[in-house]
């Protein structure tokens, strides 16, 4: 009983070791795809593909490696509030320079 207890406790805090390795392999594959956009002409898909891949990698690390998917929602609110404010700052700065720069 004692030998299985730590495993079940670890599962409460996220994935198994194999699960984390799978996530890392997916992240590595997405990174390889991202780098390929530098060498291969993706046409009009270039920008949207890069942005989507960036967001997928970001969400995967935050959800699985940082355990936000398994943790209390309060932590998600705290983090994503900061992130939304940061994106707001970027949009406001960009708009200011576009219209008044």
């Amino acid at each position: 009983m004692t030998s299985t207890a730590p495993d079940s406790h670890a599962t409460e805090h996220g994935l198994s070791t194999a699960g984390y390795v799978r996530i890392a392999l997916i992240l590595a594959a997405i990174t390889a795809l991202e780098v390929s956009t530098y060498y291969v002409d993706f046409g009009w898909l270039f920008m949207p593909a890069l942005m989507i891949m960036m967001v997928i990698k970001f969400v995967m690390v935050v959800s699985y490696f940082m355990h936000l998917k398994f943790d209390n929602k309060m932590f998600s609110w705290l983090f994503y509030s900061g992130l939304v404010l940061a994106v707001g700052v970027y949009c406001a700065a960009l708009a200011t320079f576009k219209f008044f720069g």
């Binding site: 730590p6 530098y38 891949m53 690390v61 309060m74 404010l85």
Partner: protein
């Protein structure tokens, strides 16, 4: 039998702080997530500044002339893999496997040091190609953004090495698993910031 003394001790260590707060959540963890939320604002401002100034190169070299994408891709891969080793350290800490925790922490620190070494090499190469800190608005905003990130990785490295020393000497205050997890959260944060920097700064041409 569900509960053994070992089980109870682990549960007590991990949730000790959380049980005594009005929210039922660990104050340390709450504070760390709040800190990471404010860090988003810091890097949001720096990334915005770079995106606005990256076209203003003056007489200095353009981004496409100095960036070495294959080299930076390898650096990015190294930092990404350090996130895997960090999460394995956290997982081992929750399992109370000190040997594995130490091993994964050391590997994470080595990967982080490789990344920082790569950044120092990259900065030196850029400087030798005529891109100084004050050469142009592009170079200033680039060095400030990537430099701030590099400082964050270096601080993370110091924390990893200090944590390893504290674990070895059994001097970690409070829950060991939670302490490893908090440093893990910081480490993953520097990784997600690099995910954004790599795409927006290196892969999307000015």
């Amino acid at each position: 039998m569900w509960f053994t003394l070992d089980n109870l001790a682990t549960a007590h260590d991990t949730h000790e702080d959380a049980a005594h707060t009005s929210t039922g959540l660990s104050n340390v963890k709450l504070g760390m997530w709040l800190f990471l939320g404010t860090e988003c604002l810091l890097f949001g401002g720096l990334i915005s500044t770079y995106m606005l100034y990256r076209g203003r190169v003056g007489t200095g070299p353009r981004p496409a002339q100095v960036f070495d994408i294959p080299f930076t891709s390898v650096s990015s891969f190294v930092l990404l893999m350090s996130s895997l080793t960090m999460v394995l350290a956290v997982s081992s800490a929750h399992k109370r496997d000190d040997k594995s925790t130490n091993l994964w922490l050391v590997i994470t620190a080595l990967l982080g040091a490789t990344f920082v070494g790569g950044q120092v090499y990259e900065f030196t190469a850029f400087y030798n190609e005529g891109m100084g800190f004050s050469t142009s608005l592009f170079s200033s905003s680039f060095y400030v953004l990537t430099g701030f990130h590099g400082v964050h990785v270096t601080v993370g490295l110091i924390m990893l090495l200090a944590l390893r020393g504290m674990l070895k000497n059994n001097k970690v205050p409070g829950s060991r698993a939670e302490t490893v997890e908090m440093i893990g959260l910081y480490w993953h944060f520097v990784d997600i910031v690099w995910i954004i920097i790599f795409t927006l700064i290196y892969l999307i041409p000015a």
